[in-house]
């Protein structure tokens, strides 16, 4: 028999105002996060003809189109790097970000049956949706390595920074995803906003063009778009673009963390209404 001190006590009462993130509980449910992520990965390409090839097709063909129109026809500058790899190095993290954003913003509504019937930290749902994109990222990244080999580009020691920039993309996607997924429960308007938002965001991110088109201090200010920092960071660590994006990346990091923290609190605040409204 258990003693009184061993028995966990759960107190249920109406919560008001801002509530804690309960990150400790998130940690206790890490196995659920693992299984949800694993499921998203396994399920994503089930019953598709091309299967995981989709992870590569998306960024690769966008690169082909960009190279043709922006590189060949419009002669957009590319910091002295061959245009195809210049744009592909940006499209790989971008695709990861955009898919993570789309998946996570629909995640709570998509898991309505779970939310209505089982208790677990809701934060695991959008987090798993973003994390599951890492596999796609790795696949697309392998193609990027192949292209680097083709163009004879040897990465420098800067490549050690790569996980940092991947994390930055992840934090941004999750931050925005948390905001949108929580809002989506109440306002299905979000479903219509997301495609528009990702398209808009694609053009305000230096993917088809370099951020070096801007002079300082505007370039640093450009870092307010966290994806600008991510994209330029990827080019810097992989392609050795000589324009070190330092200040811009710092700005991006602050914004990304701000998005994540505010998103998490907003999410937690709205969480108690999920089961009733979704």
């Amino acid at each position: 028999m258990k003693t009184l001190s061993e028995v966990p006590v759960i107190v249920i009462k109406p919560s008001r105002g801002w509530v804690s993130l309960k990150l400790l509980e998130m940690w206790e449910y890490r196995e659920l996060l693992y299984f949800l992520t694993l499921r998203d990965i396994k399920v994503r390409y089930k019953q598709t003809v091309l299967g995981v090839a989709w992870a590569i097709i998306q960024p690769f063909f966008t690169m082909v189109v960009f190279s043709l129109f922006f590189g060949r026809l419009a002669h957009v500058p590319s910091d002295g790097i061959p245009y195809p790899i210049f744009s592909y190095a940006a499209l790989v993290p971008w695709t990861f970000f955009a898919n993570g954003l789309i998946q996570s913003s629909n995640s709570i509504v998509g898991h309505a049956n779970l939310v209505r019937k089982v208790y677990f930290p809701r934060l695991t749902i959008p987090t798993a949706a973003v994390l599951s994109g890492v596999v796609d990222f790795i696949l697309a990244f392998i193609v990027l390595l192949g292209m680097m080999l083709f163009y004879g580009i040897v990465p420098t020691l800067n490549i050690l920074w790569l996980p940092f920039f991947l994390a930055l993309a992840l934090v941004t996607a999750l931050g925005v995803g948390l905001w949108l997924s929580a809002m989506n429960v109440q306002f299905r308007d979000v479903r219509h906003i997301v495609p528009f938002l990702t398209q808009f965001w694609l053009f305000v991110t230096p993917i088809a063009y370099p951020s070096s088109l801007l002079s300082e201090p505007w370039r640093t200010l450009y870092g307010i778009n966290p994806m600008a920092g991510v994209v330029e960071g990827f080019r810097w660590v992989l392609l050795g673009a000589d324009t070190t994006p330092g200040p811009m990346v710092i700005a991006s990091s602050f914004v990304a963390v701000g998005l994540l923290v505010s998103g998490a609190f907003c999410f937690r605040r709205l969480e108690k209404t999920f089961a009733d409204v979704v």
Partner: protein, 445 residues
């Protein structure tokens, strides 16, 4: 060991329903409202007031001031009509939704089983789903690995464990889903209507599993519409009505009260409003009554005495041959027997319109002890037109007073069987052994 497992104090939950329609006066008002509303809604939302995307102003208390306590190891039933607040209560205790007011304390690990198969994914194999569903329900990976074989054999899906569950039959799917949930081992289990799944054999298996869980000393709060299951599994039952706790007492009392809320005893159930009587265009059910040997209404009968059950019905169209019939169900949900009206007076005779009372007389020393639930049904013959089958109209207790002249004899312990007829016994004695063989042989000569 704490003294309480669940303590609920003055718990309330308010829901917003329906939309209040405002009449828009002018186009200008409409336009202004269209511009202002999204901001107002967003503002409300950020202040933490759930409004949904529409203006929901009408409010309803799904739960109002509910207070009760559950001791560790108790199996408590929760009944009430649809919308009485049973599921809301479980959802609050399972922390799925927040209460509006009041508080609850739960001492121990909670597992909730509000739906079978939540989180199952059709594209994943049975094996993958066991792990995923287990994790969703709060099991640790080690725990799932340890119980994996047990879960698979309980669900009887060994052969298909690596097949995507979308190819499963619905029975296999439900079995697997229940198996995962049934192997949860929290100190406190909240269960909602899960027994309403699967075929009869599997339902029985689920019931037995639930009984095991109760006997292992775990605390269970169990919502069900299945009265027989409820009286069998729970010693104590709570009745909710319109969000309020109406009765909290031993199960058979509460079940009786529930079966005829507003009618007095379980022994009588009447449909006074002609519009709401069960039935179709030819015949409708007016009342069902249980009478003891003395002719009085009774919801408890002595096992040795006969009991009469009468079905009052009105015939609206003349010229049909009617066959009233009964189904008697015990508290395990087993059909004890069914009986068709064989009264020669009206058998094979077309009936004129009017009111009829058909009574079945069940002899003493036939039914086993326990609760008997009565389903009343009526069909016409040639053509066979089903008029009504009203389930669990009345229920009565069969009681053995242990005076030694029932089929129990002098035994006071548990007895099996759905019926308990008093049989004739004969004993032959022969002091020098080999009694049976010789006497049998002699008997046949």
């Amino acid at each position: 060991m704490s003294k309480t497992a669940i303590r609920v104090e003055d718990l309330s939950k308010e829901y917003c329903i329906g939309a209040r329609q405002e009449a828009y006066k002018t186009l200008r008002d409409t336009l202004i409202d269209a511009f202002v509303a999204p901001f107002r809604r967003t503002g409300k939302l950020l202040r933490g007031q759930a409004t949904g995307a529409a203006e929901l102003d009408e409010k309803i208390w799904a739960l109002k001031g509910v207070t009760f306590e559950v001791q560790p190891g108790e199996v408590v039933g929760l009944i009430g009509r649809n919308g009485a607040g049973k599921s809301t209560l479980l959802k609050i205790l399972a922390r799925i939704t927040d209460p509006t007011d009041g508080r609850a304390e739960i001492y121990g690990r909670v597992g909730s089983l509000l739906e079978v198969g939540t989180g199952f994914h059709g594209e994943l194999t049975g094996r993958e789903n066991i792990y995923l569903n287990g994790a969703i329900l709060g099991m640790k990976r080690g725990e799932i690995i340890r119980k994996f074989d047990e879960i698979v054999s309980f669900a009887e899906v060994e052969k298909f464990i690596d097949t995507p569950v979308k190819h499963y039959s619905s029975g296999m799917y439900l079995r697997l889903a229940f198996a995962v949930a049934a192997h949860l081992e929290p100190e406190i289990l909240l269960v909602d209507e899960v027994l309403a799944v699967g075929d009869a054999r599997f339902q029985r298996k689920c019931l037995n599993k639930m009984q095991d869980i109760g006997q292992q000393g775990r605390t269970v709060l169990f919502v069900s519409h299945n009265m027989p299951a409820l009286t069998r599994l729970c010693e104590r039952t709570i009745l909710l009505e319109e969000g309020q706790l109406i009765k909290d007492a031993p199960s058979h009392q509460v079940v009786s009260a529930y079966l005829n809320s507003g009618f007095g005893t379980t022994a009588v159930r009447e449909w006074s409003d002609p519009e709401r009587r069960p039935g179709r265009d030819i015949a409708r059910l007016c009342a069902v009554r249980v009478r003891g040997q003395d002719g009085k209404f009774s919801d408890a009968v002595d096992i040795r005495e006969p009991v009469g059950i009468e079905m009052e019905y009105e015939v609206l169209k003349p010229g049909y041959i009617l066959m009233p019939h009964w189904h008697f169900v015990n508290e395990e949900g087993i059909n004890i027997f069914s009986a068709n009206d064989t009264d020669v007076a009206w058998r094979r005779r077309p009936r004129p319109t009017g009111c009829y009372v058909s009574t079945i007389l069940i002899p003493g020393n036939l039914l086993a002890e326990g609760t008997v639930f009565v389903d009343a049904a009526l069909t016409t013959l040639n053509p066979d037109l089903h008029q009504f089958t009203e389930r669990q109209t009345v229920a009565f207790q069969v009681i053995d007073t242990l005076e030694g002249d029932s089929a129990r004899g002098d035994w006071a312990g548990r007895m099996k069987g759905v019926v308990r007829p008093l049989m004739q016994w004969r004993t032959q004695f022969s002091p020098n052994g080999y009694a049976s063989a010789t006497t049998m042989a002699e008997g046949e000569v």
